[in-house]
């Protein structure tokens, strides 16, 4: 086996082990499924109220905005909780085991943690589609018409966009979590990150923000966590999807470099005194 082959095999086994771990108990998913379902229901009611006197807001119909929320929340519920596990591993000293391995630390943990999240994301997506059909009606039509090509294109690019959103979420949360190498308490950083992610593109499409704020938001990574996949789903066009995916990919690369930089710096300053 070549070095690259062995590494890819290791990442594959890491992802499949994480998936087995996630699926060890069906109950693992019940809390997030329940919360997600509740959120979608509450927001669909809120939007019903908001759309009572108008049929569109910033180009979105009620059905579009409910579908938007359903897809936008997949990143949070499916690819969401890396920070807590990573920060806990650093604070508890479990990182001693994780560091004493001959793998590429960032690459391995990406494979293990994002790989394991695919089950959560798939379950939440299936639940979202079911609830969406009940609460918001049929899927929103693609801007480019209802051709088979556009249908497959939308599904494929949505999947790609969700993977990129999950990757971006992982690298950003990884970089935040590893600040525990320096800080005794870094939860506040995650709290701030979470709130920005929620406001900029998750709760509402960024077109709903004031124009200046929406323009500024596009220069931050937050819209690419949830806005990009949701927008691709509710208003699919090849050109816009291509542009959003390209920008998502750039942010993933930047976030990966940031994560590697924080790890390189932090792992040389590990301060685990005590057993």
């Amino acid at each position: 086996m070549t070095k690259l082959g062995a590494r890819l095999c290791c990442y594959g086994v890491a992802a499949s082990t994480a998936i087995r771990d996630r699926t060890a108990y069906a109950g693992n998913f019940s809390a997030s499924m329940l919360t997600y379902g509740l959120f979608v229901f509450i927001f669909s009611r809120v939007w019903s109220g908001a759309y009572e006197s108008q049929s569109t807001i910033a180009g979105y119909t009620r059905s579009m905005v409910v579908w938007y929320f359903i897809i936008a929340e997949i990143t949070s519920f499916g690819f969401g909780r890396y920070f807590w596990n990573l920060a806990r591993d650093v604070k508890s000293g479990q990182v001693a085991y994780l560091l004493a391995r001959p793998y590429d630390f960032v690459g391995y943990h990406y494979a293990e943690r994002v790989g394991g999240s695919f089950v959560d994301a798939a379950i939440i997506l299936a639940e979202g589609l079911a609830i969406g059909l009940l609460l918001a009606g049929p899927l929103p039509a693609a801007v480019e018409g209802g051709s088979l090509m556009a249908g497959f294109g939308r599904a494929g690019l949505l999947a790609l966009s969700l993977v990129l959103a999950g990757s971006l979420n992982f690298y950003l949360q990884f970089a935040l979590a590893l600040t525990a190498f320096w800080l005794e308490e870094n939860d506040a950083l995650y709290w701030i990150f979470q709130k920005f992610a929620l406001i900029v593109g998750t709760l509402i499409p960024i077109e709903f923000l004031p124009e200046q704020a929406a323009r500024a938001a596009l220069w931050t990574p937050f819209p690419y966590l949830s806005y990009a996949p949701a927008r691709i789903f509710v208003a699919f066009s090849w050109a816009e999807a291509g542009s959003l995916l390209a920008r998502q990919a750039i942010w993933v690369v930047l976030a990966m470099l940031l994560a590697r930089f924080v790890f390189a710096l932090g792992s040389r300053r590990v301060a685990l005194n005590g057993g």
Binding site: A14, T17, R20, Y97, Y108, A271, L272, G275
Partner: protein, 340 residues
């Protein structure tokens, strides 16, 4: 050849201290006071290939910090270390191929999955070909007698079963050097005995160098040939178990029971414990001849029973631990050595 060489290895941590007085919390936020804690102070020692060495010390002595520096997890503040010819602080990843580690209070096995899954993952991490992984797993499963546990979720294993699986997992990549940080902590007598036997066998049959920390004197006496004691971050004792045990031989515990009450006070030697018919003496053989003490006691009356015991190794080490500083502990060591 030396498997481990530590040369004036030291590690300092900076702790934030909350200032005292009024508004201390607020002042602490803006002008925190810092205290440098010297966890390891210039520790120098070496371990030869194939040795089983006990690395001892009271809580907070710097044992785990030293192990973490030797495995490359922590960067030393000063001094150098060489492990299997590599500098752990620079070559952590390369070193990881040749060393194994078990931290008794942490786990490398996936909690909700059976050990077989963790073995498969570790095999992939250490890039073992499937056939090699299968043969190594098979051999370790047989040696550690864990065949029946391999498909049981780790959370359902007893602590002893889990530790057996942990050690087996750490050996999958056939490391030359094994760091065991309190591997028998929390285990019952039977499980401890099993783990000790396995470590001993591993060293004898495969020549694995073992660097062991433990608070269990049984582990140390049974498995290790040499002990390094670290105290307040300094190495205060580095000698063979034989020499360490010899320190204990200078002090004997002598117990007597008489048929009738007698005067049990001897000139210059009072009992440390007494009843109407029995007494227990602590005899420093450098000051009193044991034979003379026995003779004197026998002359006091009709003896029903007499017992002579060595001082437990635990007491010797406890005395070293009880020293207030590393220098004091060293002095204790020298003083004891002079008595020898």
């Amino acid at each position: 050849m030396a498997a481990i060489v530590a040369d004036r290895l030291s590690k300092a941590f900076t702790l934030r201290i909350r200032p005292k007085g009024r508004f201390s919390t607020l002042r602490g936020l803006f002008r925190p006071e810092r205290r440098i804690v010297q966890a390891v102070k210039g520790a120098s020692f070496s371990v030869n290939e194939g040795e089983v060495v006990a690395f001892l010390g009271p809580n907070g002595a710097g044992k785990s910090t030293t192990i973490k520096m030797l495995t490359g997890i922590l960067q030393p503040s000063g001094g150098t270390a060489s492990v299997l010819g590599l500098d752990p602080s620079r070559d952590r990843k390369r070193l990881a191929w040749s060393i194994g580690s078990v931290f008794g209070q942490k786990s490398q096995l996936w909690f909700h999955l059976p050990p077989a899954d963790s073995f498969r993952l570790l095999g992939a991490i250490y890039e073992l070909e499937p056939a090699l992984l299968a043969s190594r797993s098979g051999a370790l499963i047989e040696r550690f007698n864990i065949g029946e546990l391999m498909d049981v979720p780790v959370r359902k294993l007893s602590l002893g079963q889990r530790i057996r699986c942990e050690i087996a997992a750490s050996l999958l990549h056939a490391p030359k050097l094994l760091f065991l940080d309190e591997p028998t902590i929390g285990l019952d007598v039977v499980a401890r005995k099993e783990i000790r036997a396995l470590i001993e066998e591993l060293n004898k049959s495969d020549g694995v160098t073992v660097f062991l920390t433990s608070h269990d004197m049984g582990d140390i006496e049974k498995i290790c040939k040499r002990a390094i004691i670290i105290h307040h971050g300094e190495v205060v004792v580095d000698e063979s178990m034989k020499a360490l045990k010899h320190r204990a031989l200078a002090r004997k515990y002598l117990g007597v029971r008489y048929a009738k009450p007698v005067d049990m006070d001897l000139p210059g030697l009072l009992p440390i414990k007494r009843t109407e018919l029995s007494a227990r003496y602590e005899v420093d053989t450098n000051e009193h001849s044991l034979a003379a003490v026995v003779k004197a006691l026998a002359s006091r009356g009709e003896l029903e029973d007499i017992t002579i015991e060595d001082e437990p190794l635990e007491n010797v080490i406890a005395t070293i631990y009880a020293s207030r500083s590393g220098a004091e502990a060293s002095l204790f060591g020298e003083r004891e050595a002079r008595h020898d």
